[in-house]
Amino acid sequence: MSAGTAKLNVTVAEVKPINDLVTRFKFVRTGGGGLPTFSGGAHTVVEMQDGDITRLNAYSLMSNPADRGAYTISVRRDDQGRGGSKFMHSKVKEGMEMVISNPVNLFSLDLRAKKHLMLAGGIGITPFMAQMHQLAMMGGRFELHYSVRTASLGTYAKELTERYPGKVHVYHDDQKEAIDLPALLANQPLGTHVYVCGPKGMINWVHGTASEMGWPREAVHSEEFLAPASGKPFEVKCAVSNKVVQVGEHQSLLEALEAAGIDAPYLCRGGACGQCETNVIGYDGKFLHHDHWLTDEQKAGGKHIMPCVSRFEGKTLVLDR
């Protein structure tokens, strides 16, 4: 399959600051007409023309999946990041035309579940908002436990508490409130599925606790998109396209391949989906694997790399691209 996903031309219909860190964006189809429906947990990849650089970031769709009139996403500003979220916050204005991908879901609900238990940390709330819309429409049983730093940074906490009375529980870090995960997991009906989206520590904590308590692996779902790490510049030889590509300090390997006009597939650009997996033909140096996709064995084997988030340090790297 060729690179990327089918594209949608959209116009920014609304830019709304939600709190000090988070801004919400609403997209409608340019020229009118409906957008595709999607399933709760799906994301879209937003293309940003930032001068000479095309940035592509994945953001979870948070609007009602059945609403074909508009998509909404929320972007948390990351001042230490590589610039995607800053671009969204500073450059994207109402009326602007943008290109986004068709929805892709790497975090879908298990529709067999008797109950859906959702655990969110910070901006990890967004995929759950679409999932709750979907479950409310279908009459599904769900419960959300949402951990925020402070009440003022509790993105959509008030709105969700009002929309789903009795189903939403908010925990404030600054008030030393924390999810009592063992108690929560111990009290779920048989057939419950757990979903977690938030910082890496939270995801590991939920998987680890559930596993220790005997939960089946298949009943615990998580999603975390990683930002591509910065690092020392390096050089890559691409055997198929016969090109030598320089990867900059703040550029990902995937972005460097794209800039060189090399066909490189992707879906999430965050180390989760596996689509960009690339065979390594030869190397002399050290891989810096940052992805969730390859197994530890594969990472040690030196035959595969995920160009969206992983890097390399050393003399030569030859890829099958």
């Binding site: 399959m1 068709n102 879908s108």
Partner: protein, 348 residues
Amino acid sequence: MTIQFNDETFRGDFTFRNSEWAIKRFPFPFHEDSYMYSVNMEPHTSYRPGSVFERTFDVDEHYVSEMKDRAQVLADDPLRCQSLPHMTLAGWDLVELIMEAKAREYPDLFELHKNGNRWRWVNKPLGIDDTFTFLDESTLPYGPMEYITRQTQGDFAMLDQRDDNLWMDAGMVTTQADWSLDFDIGMNFFEWHAPVPKAHEMGIFVRALKFLLNIQQGQPARRLNWTMTVNPLLDTSPENYHKWGEMKQDLTMENLGSKQHLRVELQTFFRLPRSNALVFPIRCYLISFNDLVTVPKWGRRLHRVIRDLPEELATYKGFIDNRPMMVEWLSQYDDGSPTSDGIWADDD
């Protein structure tokens, strides 16, 4: 209506026939003079006006008669259509996909009028004019998947995606090449492909699964598969093997041209938006050897493919006993000249 629908049967007196139009657009599956498994997928985009690859769901002269045959199969065996409870939403996805595509691509045959969730569906060839509420099962005479697939040619495997695998959790399967939904339902991708010889060692299924898991909304894919059937039977199910298996013994050099049929499946693959499930419509096309050899390239090539096919594949596809006779019959149409690349007849 632009298509003249045949009044024909796929059982009993076997009055099924292909018009010259249907022969010319038949999806001949061999692009070269030999055959081996491959993950031969391509994007399911409109291709060659008039071909079976032009529309999202191909409708042809067999439509009305195939739907009558499906109704008969279901009346005899309701287990040919099953849907586990969590697949109902995927069924609605399929209703939307098929109705929108057919109304858009065959406006003279099908109409879809939406007023919010209140939809009116008009199917002129089958004389259906129904109004229902989208996502409300109580407003349809059947579950959503059964409702729409009783009106759409081809089998439908509905697959749930979870744990990095695909699970056959619903389907409408009445025109299958000797496999059973009732047996496979609830199985994952590797389980239901377990009987296929050679392909496992070749790593075909690992690669195919990876490809399928990554099929995205708005980017459907397709491939062709094939087998052989004696008499134009749509329902070659294991459940009915006692009825059709013995027909394989009726083949003679005299009747082979009319009785032996190449059976081609056009398999398409769509990601469904609301459920994130995948649907595999598997459309069956039949052509008698007599009709097939009217295209000289196809006659020459089929002779070489069948002659050289590995024994395991001829066994798996169920025609090993008749292969010598098929090869001898087809050899009359192979003058040894080279064939051109690709599946299309040379006179195009």
